[in-house]
């Protein structure tokens, strides 16, 4: 072998190795995107599952509460004036503070601290007249400082927590009066303009309702349509047209379905705006083709011998289909349905168009109450400027992703556990 040939061979082998490396790098890049992405979300979001409390002492002084009765009833406690009691509880943290500066202390807890003082007494009526410790929700700025998400070394005028508040915070922290506990209220309270109070309960219920409505509308229609197209449809121009239609519908951008929901469901049928009912129907139009395609694929996968055996036993076409083919195809259909619903779960744009982006601070009880949904909640919060919302968004994303993972797992389980293997 002469040296020219040797060089050529070497070159070709080098090219081969390079090409393999390109492939490895591409896959590595794709996987590292996912890793970076997950890391970002988790590192930003995990702290939202902790809630910061400020512990102080409250004196339920009858005089300040303006309660006259000897043994006050529940109503008396309900109607008492808690402003002074709550105010005193906060200002007692630094008795030396001049009165005109007191806002600095009050701003360290959430604006609902008065209600929290009231709730504690309503729960424990025997605290009346006593001095008891109380946990108050820290404001989101203090919360962020406590979690270390807020830099302390920037100049005071650019900081939302001033030096005095930091000093009080450090004092309390040393005394162990700053508590960090699991944030239950993130899951049980509705949206709020204040980051420390905002929760996902309303959007979570909105999501659940819209997915249920979506399932109720899309599943029956899609399965019946798939049965017709796969088992009964004659081969002609019209059924071809329906087929092409379904394939194209599956690729229409989701926002167009939002326009459809807006132009038809809201403008023509006058269904209530901003509700999971409309959202669910809009999403169901979107999932319809996905489920039809999945159901047809799994009907096709049922071997013809099953049909032939049933027909040979004297069953009619309809009986063969309904008693044998359809039940056997159900695992595939169901897992396709779950995947379609998981897609619908993450949709945001169509829901924004039908008005599910409105600020809702109540938890919806029915599908016709106004609500947001989890992805829309992510959008709403990420548009807020407050720092506390960043971790809320990440936490909300974690909940949404957990939901999606669960649904995909369910789809896998349904498929692998119940599907019959032919052959």
């Amino acid at each position: 072998m002469n040296s020219f040939k040797k060089n050529l061979l070497k070159k070709r082998y080098n090219a081969e190795r390079r090409f393999q490396w390109y492939g490895k790098i591409a896959i590595g890049l794709a996987l590292s995107f996912l890793a970076v992405f997950m890391f970002q979300i988790f590192s930003k979001g995990y702290s939202a599952f902790q809630k910061t409390w400020i512990v102080t002492e409250v004196h339920y002084d009858k005089e300040l509460l303006l309660i006259d009765a000897e043994s006050p009833s529940k109503d008396d406690l309900e109607n008492a004036d808690y402003y002074d009691v709550a105010y005193k509880a906060m200002t007692s943290l630094d008795p030396g503070l001049p009165e005109e500066e007191d806002r600095q202390l009050i701003q360290m807890v959430s604006y609902k601290y008065e209600a929290e003082v009231k709730d504690l007494l309503l729960k424990n009526p025997d605290y009346l007249g006593k001095i008891v410790p109380i946990k108050l929700t820290a404001s989101d700025d203090v919360d962020q400082v406590h979690k270390g998400n807020y830099p302390r070394d920037i100049p005071e005028e650019n900081r939302r927590v001033n030096d005095y508040q930091l000093q009080i915070y450090d004092m309390l922290n040393e005394r162990g009066d700053i508590l960090s506990e699991f944030n239950i209220s993130f899951f049980t309270s509705p949206d709020s303009r204040e980051a420390e109070l905002a929760g996902i309960a309303s959007s979570f219920m909105g999501t659940v309702f819209s997915i249920l409505v979506c399932l109720a509308f899309s599943f029956p229609v899609a399965v019946l349509a798939a049965i017709y197209l796969e088992e009964f449809a004659p081969k002609n121009k019209f059924t071809d047209f329906i087929e092409v239609n379904i394939n194209n519908l599956a690729a229409v951008p989701s926002i167009v379905f939002g326009l459809l929901g807006l132009g038809v469901l809201l403008a023509v049928f006058n269904l209530p705006r901003s509700t999971p009912l409309v959202g669910g129907i809009t999403l169901s139009l979107m999932t319809l083709p996905t489920i039809i395609i999945a159901a047809r694929a799994s009907l096709k996968a049922v071997p013809p011998s099953i049909r032939e055996a049933a027909l040979a036993m004297g069953a009619s076409n309809m009986q063969t289909t309904m008693h044998h083919t359809v039940p056997l195809s159900m695992p595939g259909t169901l897992s396709g349905t779950i995947i379609g619903l998981a897609q619908a779960l993450g949709e945001t744009a169509p829901l924004i168009l039908i008005g599910m982006v409105a600020f809702v601070n109540t938890i919806p009880g029915t599908p016709v109450d106004p609500a947001a949904s989890l992805p829309v909640q992510i959008y709403i919060w990420s548009e807020s400027a407050e720092r506390g919302f960043v971790e809320k968004v990440s936490a909300c994303i974690m909940v949404l992703l957990a939901f999606l993972i669960l649904m995909n797992l369910a789809a896998q389980i349904v498929r692998h556990k119940f599907e019959k293997k032919w052959s």
Binding site: A26, L29, V221, N245, L249, P253, L260, S316, A342
Partner: protein, 458 residues
């Protein structure tokens, strides 16, 4: 009222099912049945529910417009435009419902009374007609049960019709999309010339907002030029494809030709997770992490970078699209027959030469199809652009500036309360229909390319 009626019909259908089955058992004692007893039940139930529900649906669809014509008959001599008539009708309805707060004229009051009266008549007529139909169809069905007619065939034909109607659902959705978009878009093009829309270079719909009264037609002419949006859409899609095509294609090649079975088994689903993450999550990621990151790098290099750059949005969108390309191209390359590979190896080609010179050209149509599908996906993507790229429609080819897309503008226009009849709202539908046409076009080409390719090797 309607709910009670429907529940009543459905309950009646259930009872008639049991009744029919029982009747079949009675018949069984004297003569041979023509079908299983449950078919007698199905037969009665179908005859009970189907005609009544169909009439009910038709009635509910047509009743409002009939009532409306009756009410507006009184106003025909006043020479009112369509919009004014609509306004009057809304007022009358609100008055009848007791939610009207404007000043009430005698004329309106009369109409409202008439409306309530008409509604009452319509309601009782509806109940009467549906009851009559129920009685008629049930007695007809019961007679044929008594005569012991053939029961299975009619039930099966009925079921087949139900299946057929369900399959029309998908067609109905398409028709709904086309008509709802067209309806508003045509009204938009009555106000704005289609030429100005397609070739105008300034998109600034907020300019046309005038409180009470018609906007200035001169302003309208210059406010709805969609060229910046079309350009922005394809520009961001182009950036996305610059990220997605190399990475997606190379991963696809590696997965189909080089990777061992284990790597393939785990790497492919993990990459596909990227496609399953909701786009709003990508949007958040792009706005909060990638955008500032791009800006920092740009500033370090001495470039002026907007915090909401097209580059950030496009790059993140590209990451989202990787699995579409990698999975589809993996599939089409795996489908290339083994004997093509064997032939190439036999000639002494290395693996990469085989991939580049034999497999890739053979799989090219399928790969082009997958790329076209990915482009259509990128064009229709909304949330990433809304959150990460700007909302001002700049006509620019600089990836470091902010641009806007068709989808983002639709969201911007329609977020919050909309007023139908306003050219700004209608313009969203005009954008929607152009988006629909573009994606439809891309999909049809992609699907036909993929289909042709499949036929070649099957």
């Amino acid at each position: 009222m309607n709910l009670i009626l429907v529940t009543f019909i459905i309950l009646l259908a259930f009872t008639s099912y049991y009744f029919g089955r029982k009747k079949a058992l009675v018949i069984q004692s004297s003569q041979r049945l023509t079908a299983l007893p449950k078919f007698y039940g199905y037969y009665l139930a179908a005859w009970c529910a189907a005609p009544a529900l169909i009439i009910f649906a038709l009635w509910s669809v047509f009743e409002p417009s009939i009532v409306k014509t009756f009410i507006l008959q009184d106003y025909t001599d006043q020479n009112l435009t369509k919009n004014e008539l609509q306004l009057i009708y809304t007022k009358v309805k609100a008055l009848a419902a007791g939610t009207y707060t404007g000043n009430i004229t005698n004329f309106l009051d009369e109409s409202a009374n008439k409306y309530i009266q008409l509604k009452g008549i319509a309601n009782s007529a509806k109940v009467a007609i549906i009851l009559a139909i129920l009685i008629f169809s049930l007695s007809f069905a019961y007679r044929s049960v008594q005569k012991n007619d053939r029961m299975r065939e009619p039930v099966e034909i009925f079921l087949k019709w139900v299946l057929f109607v369900a399959s029309l659902g998908a067609v109905l959705v398409t028709i709904g999309i086309v008509f709802s978009l067209l309806f508003e878009a045509i009204r938009f093009f009555q106000a704005v010339k289609i030429f100005d829309f397609i070739f105008g270079t300034h998109w600034y719909p907020a300019k046309t907002f005038v409180r009470d009264g018609q906007p200035d037609p001169e302003l309208m002419k210059d406010a709805f030029g969609a060229v910046p949006l079309f350009a922005g859409t394809f520009f961001i899609a182009f950036i996305a494809m610059c990220v997605a095509i190399p990475i997606g294609l190379l991963s696809g090649i590696y997965l189909s030709e080089y990777a061992g079975r284990d790597v393939r088994k785990y790497a492919k689903p993990i990459i596909e997770i990227l496609a399953g993450i909701p786009t709003v999550v990508y949007g958040f990621f792009a706005a909060l992490t990638v955008g500032p990151f791009v800006k920092e790098i740009g500033n370090a290099m001495g470039l002026e970078v907007s915090a909401e750059s097209a580059l950030a949005a496009g790059a993140v969108m590209g990451v989202m699209i990787i699995p579409f390309i990698s999975s589809l191209s993996d599939d089409v390359m795996t489908a290339v027959p083994q004997n093509l590979r064997d032939g190439s190896y036999a000639m002494g080609a290395t693996k990469s030469e085989t991939v580049k010179k034999v497999i890739f050209p053979a799989a090219l149509p399928g790969i082009v199809g997958s790329i076209l599908l990915a482009v259509s996906r990128a064009v229709g993507e909304t949330m990433i652009v809304v959150m990460a790229s700007g909302l001002a429609a700049n006509l620019t080819m600089n990836p470091l500036e902010s641009t806007s897309t068709i989808t983002a503008q639709i969201v911007v226009i329609l977020i919050g309360d909309q007023q139908f009849g306003d050219p700004k709202t209608q313009s969203a539908f005009a954008l929607g229909i152009s988006l629909f046409i573009v994606t439809l076009f891309l999909n049809v080409i992609a699907l036909s390319v993929v289909k042709k390719y499949r036929e070649k090797y099957e």
